[in-house]
């Protein structure tokens, strides 16, 4: 299970350019996946940050008298620009909930990724740098973790501990570090045998210093790629947990929860599940494309 099947967006590399910096810039600009992924993600992040300014209404403000107004493109007399994406089953503005929902997805995705990143990177770098018994031990821990069914364990733990935003973040963070560990391990292994590390060891630098000053900067590009993948993964899992009713609890707007709440009317008003579903899809897609693109650009030789 050492191989990680990273997504491969492929594009013809630029012909060799004079300086590494210029080369990188050129690659970035030529990589449509990276660019569009970055743009969509930037737009969603901006949505999250400026949600209070952008949202036309309070996302929690319910009024049963104006429930289930269809979105503005709908051929219904009720549709209007007052509620551009319509209202949900409790009369809450769908656009506002969608905007605020991006905060939940990003917050959970980012925090869970940070937690799993710290755990996985630590384990992976230690295993890759020290090798031997440490490596065997880390390998064993990773294998054990992979043997546990993630969704099931996450659901079980959340149901036993009680669901809240914090619990969801921690559970996902504690479960999703395996890819960090695997990739960091092999990246560190590659770096370990290079001359500058051997040189640092020879002049008597302390191990922590070598790890932080010499190893870390050289495995960073791998780290970013995995971070994007894991963030996407965490966002999808949060949505699934919320969809099953064990993630974020109402009335907090979460995209997974919005799909869950709307599925009662999905056969009649499909836009209710289409809107949050497409939002989730775009967010995860943009993060994935960004990650793929970053990998292509920083390490074109590693494309799968």
């Amino acid at each position: 299970m050492a191989q990680t099947t990273l997504p491969g967006l492929h594009i013809i590399d630029g012909i060799a350019a004079p300086t590494p910096g210029a080369l990188l810039r050129q690659r970035i600009l030529r990589h449509w996946g990276l660019l569009s992924g970055g743009l969509i993600l930037a737009a969603i992040v901006a949505m999250a940050i400026f949600a209070p300014l952008l949202a036309p209404h309070d996302p929690y403000d319910q009024d049963l008298a104006r429930k289930l107004i269809p979105p503005v493109w709908h051929l219904s007399a009720k549709a209007s620009w007052t509620y551009p994406l319509g209202t949900d089953h409790l009369g809450r503005d769908y656009l506002s909930r969608l905007l605020y929902g991006s905060r939940i997805s990003l917050l959970i995705g980012f925090s869970a990724m940070l937690i799993s990143g710290v755990i996985g990177t630590t384990l992976g770098v230690l295993a890759g740098y020290f090798g031997g018994r440490v490596d065997t031990a880390v390998n064993f821990i990773v294998t054990t973790r992979l043997a546990m069914p993630v969704v099931l364990v996450a659901l079980a733990v959340v149901s036993l501990v009680g669901s809240s935003l914090t619990v969801v973040i921690w559970v996902l963070g504690l479960l999703l570090w395996d890819r960090f560990a695997v990739v960091m391990r092999s990246a560190t292994q590659q770096v370990r045998s290079r001359e500058f590390i051997v040189a640092a060891q020879a002049v008597g630098c302390s191990t922590p210093r070598i790890l932080l000053a010499e190893v870390a900067p050289n495995v960073l590009n791998h780290l970013i790629v995995i971070a994007t993948l894991e963030m996407a993964q965490a966002i999808l899992l949060e949505a699934a947990l919320s969809f099953l009713g064990l993630g974020v609890q109402p009335p907090t707007p979460s995209w997974g929860l919005m799909v869950s709440e709307a599925k009662g009317l999905m056969f009649f008003d499909p836009w209710l599940i289409a809107i949050p579903g497409i939002a989730l899809f775009l967010l995860v897609l943009s993060i994935n494309m960004l990650g793929d693109g970053l990998r292509d650009v920083t390490a074109p030789e590693n494309r799968g």
Binding site: T5, F140, M148, P149, V150, L152, L160, A240, G304
Partner: protein, 305 residues
């Protein structure tokens, strides 16, 4: 090969043991199970009786050892809410989930391998682009949402397939697509990469130079070599999929292990949850073991690690 097998087997056993320990420790976050079973109105002596009956009064290591020896003998304990032994319930539900997993992996392979091969043979062609789209979409689409969309179209609008249940093979079509689509990208990428690699290798060039027809080269040589990692990936993904079936089985109400897990989670029925986690982990460990051994048997270079 014998030494390699023995070593892998040892690791697999150790992993299974560790998983069992972690699974068992779920009891620590669940509160006092005796009180949970008895209910609040229960008298103290009832709670004591339950504690004795289930053996919660014994030291934790003893309980663990007991649970483990039971599990080895096929006794997964007593459910808090169901009237059957946990092992019986799991035995009746597991085949359904295995059938679902198998249909899903079949769907994924049937979709992914041809796409991957064509994408490799004709890089940057329309098929290659399409394969890329399938991969990117598959990775980013929430599985529950995809499942609902399938129900909406195939089930309600077009009336092609039944929506819930697990009595008929037709019941498995939509869930298998929903579950299988998610692993399609990984299989496709691996196929594409494998075929590309083999096609550029020396012996294929030799075969081509000898004037063998391209199709023959592709199927006789390239595919056979490229398919090995795909098969082992499929085995591993199958294990993942069994774990992921909880969402899909819940949506389609398929009476398999995933749906059982979901019900037990709602009822906080710890022994059932523990047993399902353990069973799925053991299946996963066995599958990876089989994949490792298969790879090693086919490619002797791997035996050194």
């Amino acid at each position: 090969m014998v030494a390699f097998t023995a070593k892998r087997l040892g690791v697999a056993l150790l992993v299974a043991l560790t998983v069992s320990l972690i699974t068992f420790s779920m009891i620590f976050v669940s509160g006092d199970p005796a009180v949970a079973i008895a209910g609040e109105g229960a008298r103290a002596e009832d709670v004591d009786a339950i504690r004795k009956f289930y053996g919660f009064d014994r030291p934790i290591p003893v309980q663990y050892a007991d649970w483990l020896t039971g599990a080895l003998k096929g006794d997964l304990g007593r459910s808090y809410t169901l009237r059957q032994p946990v092992a019986d319930v799991i035995a009746s539900r597991l085949p359904v989930t295995l059938a679902l997993g198998a249909s899903a992996i079949l769907f994924a392979l049937v979709l992914a391998i041809p796409l991957g091969v064509v994408a490799a043979v004709r890089p940057n062609s329309f098929i290659d682009r399409f394969a890329l789209l399938v991969a990117v979409v598959g990775q980013a689409m929430p599985s529950f949402w995809f499942a609902l969309t399938l129900i909406l179209w195939l089930g309600v609008y077009w009336r092609l397939l039944p929506i819930t249940g697990s009595d008929h093979w037709q019941n498995f079509v939509m869930p298998a697509i929903a579950l299988g689509y998610y692993v399609t990208p990984a299989v496709m990428r691996l196929t594409r990469a494998g075929v590309l690699e083999v096609l550029s290798s020396d012996y294929i060039r030799t075969a081509r130079a000898k004037g063998l027809r391209p199709a023959k080269v592709l199927f006789k040589h390239a595919l056979r070599n490229a398919i090995i990692p795909v098969v082992s990936l499929a085995a591993v993904q199958f294990g993942f999929m069994l774990g992921g079936s909880i969402v899909i089985e819940t949506i389609f109400q398929i009476n398999g292990l995933g749906y059982l897990a979901w019900e037990s989670i709602q009822r906080k029925d710890l022994p059932v949850m523990q047993a399902i986690v353990l069973v799925l982990s053991v299946i996963y460990v066995l599958l990876t073991l089989a994949a490792d051994l298969l790879n090693a048997a086919l490619d002797p270079r791997l035996r050194t690690s």
